[in-house]
Assembly symmetry: C2
Homo-oligomer: 342 residues x 2
Amino acid sequence: MRKYNIAVVGATGMVGSKFLEVLTEKQLPVENYYLFASAKSAGKVINFMGKDHTVIELTDENINALKGKVDIALFSAGGKTSERFAPVFASIGTVVIDNSAQWRMDPKVPLVVPEVNPQDITWNNGIIANPNCSTIQAMVLLKPLYDAFGLKRVIYSTYQAVSGAGVAGYNDLLEGLKAFVNGEKYETKKFPYQIANNCLPHIDVFMDNGYTKEEMKMVNETKKILGDDKIKVTATCVRVPVLNSHSESINVEFNKPVTKEAILKVLENAPGLKIVDDVANNVYPMPINSTGSDITLVGRIRIDDTVDSGANFWVCADNIRKGAASNAVQIAEYMINNNMIK
Amino acid sequence: MRKYNIAVVGATGMVGSKFLEVLTEKQLPVENYYLFASAKSAGKVINFMGKDHTVIELTDENINALKGKVDIALFSAGGKTSERFAPVFASIGTVVIDNSAQWRMDPKVPLVVPEVNPQDITWNNGIIANPNCSTIQAMVLLKPLYDAFGLKRVIYSTYQAVSGAGVAGYNDLLEGLKAFVNGEKYETKKFPYQIANNCLPHIDVFMDNGYTKEEMKMVNETKKILGDDKIKVTATCVRVPVLNSHSESINVEFNKPVTKEAILKVLENAPGLKIVDDVANNVYPMPINSTGSDITLVGRIRIDDTVDSGANFWVCADNIRKGAASNAVQIAEYMINNNMIK
């Protein structure tokens, strides 16, 4: 059986260390792992899969030294690093699966959720983009609904966890909460205002149209992943004081008539999705329940009779796993299982 | 100058004690205050406005003993207590301003936000209902927009604070956070699941249609307050780990064309509303900013081009003040200032 070589770039960050965790769980047929990070973390030794790995500094020289020896590189090192180094990996024959926003809307780069559009992997040119965390979980829900009923309009309101803002964001909530319950002050390092006991309607930077980049990611990536520019999408993205797992309130208008029964029937067999919807027994998705899982939870499914055919949904998913690391590893797994690596 | 007599019913609860705080600030022309509560709190002495008040037990006998002596009764003692005792106060000539959901949809009871529909006060039959907290702040925003552009459809997604669930809900978060940061367990008393580090898409009880009662309050109260059954309204209500002030993501479809400039012009002069919308300088509403104020903050105002005429809004307001106590006291103040008390 063929064995593969995988590089992890940004191995010491929030998503990077989750890459290692998910790779350990998956036990893909891998010969060698190469862990890359910036100069700051280079030389550090990480014990991974029972072996000590010295973190390699991300430089042209170090990448080129591995020419022909790395099949897949899982990137989570920010947009700038990806812009600079993903093409270098691609040039040595590596398929880059990149978690940053850098390549997502590039028409030459497929944007993939394995349960939704694995067919797009085939036309990659050495770089495959992992969608935004908040988009991924919405796609797992919306793809089967799109296929069954068509999507006319989607309105997202998100309840996003601080882990999406990396280690610094995570610590801003954790340290902020400690200070809060002790009546002390805490100066946030990542967020512009306190996130403990607060909601910030501000994720990523503001654009000229007044929307945040995060909101526009949800709008544009939804259309690209579903391959349909005619779907109308709008979004309001909000950071809430939750450590991990994003939640979303999604209002959907369909092209064809729906009933709750028809929706449930479609979603019952949807890959990567679990229906958690028994309100008589207080059963509904919550971020504490999706954390640690690669499954997107959907519940609070209600027909919306304010349009001819519509429904409201509530979805929760682990933004660091399914929203980032696991989705990328699933792409790698899909490529390995389907002999898509040259 | 005429002086009035005011009773506060449920004086020892979360909203009840806020009634006392707001009344202290307002300094209405009041002769006597009567503080009522259940047997459990009766006899307790509360120092209020520099005077000791012994809490009176809420019984028919004690109410009837004050026949003709109480002009206004501010109620916040739950639906059942209001159902039982509001009519008793009304029968002795008192105008009841009730904060529970008990009378809100009764066609003989006006449902009033003073900035929005004060004219409805005139047709009261002894009971005036205070709307649901999450509805009130939406109305302060939507009324001027309704007048200017007409409302076709409104989609609410809420981010509601635990203070809306009373003292027990408030403590569930506060104690839950303390336990959380110390790595300890905490059993919630009010909420079915932990609210610290979590979101609960569950406020009030579930109805047969799958919506919660809270969601249906927002739907039905919006139409009643604006006096227009043709407006289409749907809602998803979510409890977030914030102690105080509700936030709402509101998507609106208008009947007439809008621009951001036209919306801003309309909202600039809206009573009880403040525009907090300068994203270039990270200025937007947050629950930590609306807490302690009676003003509803609106920001993140964005044209939504997925419909012919639409926009997205983000509003924050203090749910215990404007969403409950202050709105009720403002109704009392309006009646006093306009000589509407017999």
